[in-house]
Amino acid sequence: MSAPASPAASAPDAAPVARPAPAPAKARRACDGIMWRKWFRVLHRDIGYVAVALIIAYGVSGLAVNHIEDWNPSYTFAERGFDIGPLPTGEPAAMADAVIARLHLDRASVRGHFLETARELRVFLTDGQEARLDVTTGKGKLKLVARRPVLFQLNALHLNNLKGAWTYVADVFAVALIFLALTGMTMMKGDRGLFGRGKYFVLAGLAVPVGFIAYVFA
């Protein structure tokens, strides 16, 4: 069934009257759902730019802390052996003084000492370092600790060791990630969109954690 010819079609002289005005067209496009897609695209792009630094930081830290059983992601450790000869017998404080003097330690860097056993003395230094030795022989090790550059700070952010204000920043970031994930699915239309082949990719991504949980907890 063919539509009846409009007055505009039958009267070419009246064309300017029949041409749709820009404003109503915009309103129609909004009704068609084009405007929200444009908004999502713009917000996805700009929030994505803002989130780039933290996504990379959290990703790098995630790799580091995932393997915490195999390495220490925040600190490095080193040991240096020494032999300062037998320490004077008596009070642990006197023994600690001898260690400080013989190892030429800066007194300001010494925090305290502790007798781990009757023979093993530990002298604590700043930064978590310590001298640990056998008081009868004077043989021992200087245990050195250092923060891993960059990774220490990234892990502190990622694991929210800082608490306080960072908790709220991390909350905003988490909401932004959810927003990016949801709007990311609306970027394309048609065959390449969510309701085209996109749904298979989304399902594949869902299947990995769901399958893993089912396997582990079944």
């Binding site: 444009k38 908004w39 713009v42 917000l43 792009r45 700009d46 929030i47 803002v50 915490i68 220490n72 925040s74 600190y75 450790f77 300001a108 860097s109 925090r111 305290g112 502790f114 007798l115 781990e116 056993t117 009757a118 530990r122 604590f124 230094l125 700043t126 930064d127 978590g128 370092q129 310590e130 600790v145 502190a156 694991l159 929210n160 060791n161 800082l162 608490k163 306080g164 204000a165 960072w166 908790t167 709220y168 920043v169 909350d171 905003v172 932004a176």
Partner: protein, 192 residues
């Protein structure tokens, strides 16, 4: 163009929301940190890096310390079952800190080898590795766990691995009893 500006305005609003709730705590923390410096523990010692909030009295973790008096570590370790299940406050020099997750530390008692562990749920509080040698005041519920010889060996092995130390199973000859404080809060300062 309108969308571009609107998007920017929305992001700015989000950023402001994220920043408006917390920085006050940090701003307060700095003077206290500086105040702690002259104790002679060195620059890093005074820099808060764990989950605690720095105050003039030290760095506070979790719910902090509420009980007025500390029970000596030697008293707790002499008869731990008398304190089991009770909330206690104890204090001592920190001699070890969990090197991987910062989820526990050990405080020294007055006698050689006398140590009491303060343990928290991973991530709830994170104690910095450089807290070794500092003074801790810790509060929580005392827990006593008697283990079989087999469990004792496994426990000692895990502890050695965590600290990166060698372990000889033959070194554990009798069943162990693990006494620790399941922590609710702590205060760490440079000196006693």
């Amino acid at each position: 163009m309108t969308l571009r500006f609107a998007s920017f305005a929305l992001l700015a609003a989000l950023a402001t929301t994220g920043c408006s709730k917390g920085p006050k705590a940090d701003a307060n923390a700095k003077p206290a940190t500086t105040a702690a410096k002259p104790e002679g523990a060195g620059a890093t010692a005074a820099k808060p890096e764990g989950t605690g909030a720095a105050t003039a009295a030290g760095q506070s973790f979790g719910a902090g310390v509420k009980l007025p008096d500390s029970t000596p570590i030697a008293t707790i370790l002499a008869s731990p079952k008398d304190f089991a299940g009770k909330t206690v406050r104890a204090e001592g020099m920190i001699v070890d800190v969990c090197p991987k997750r910062g989820c526990w530390f050990e405080m020294a008692g007055p006698n050689p080898g006398e140590k009491l562990r303060f343990k928290v749920v991973d991530g709830e509080m994170v104690f910095p590795l450089d807290a070794k040698g500092k003074w801790a005041v810790a509060e929580g519920v005392l827990s006593v766990k008697d283990m079989s010889l087999e469990d004792s060996v496994a426990y000692a092995k895990y502890q050695a691995e965590e600290k990166g130390e060698p372990f000889d199973p033959a070194s554990v000859t009798a069943p162990m009893s693990v006494v620790r404080i399941d922590g609710t809060g702590a205060l760490i300062r440079d000196k006693q």
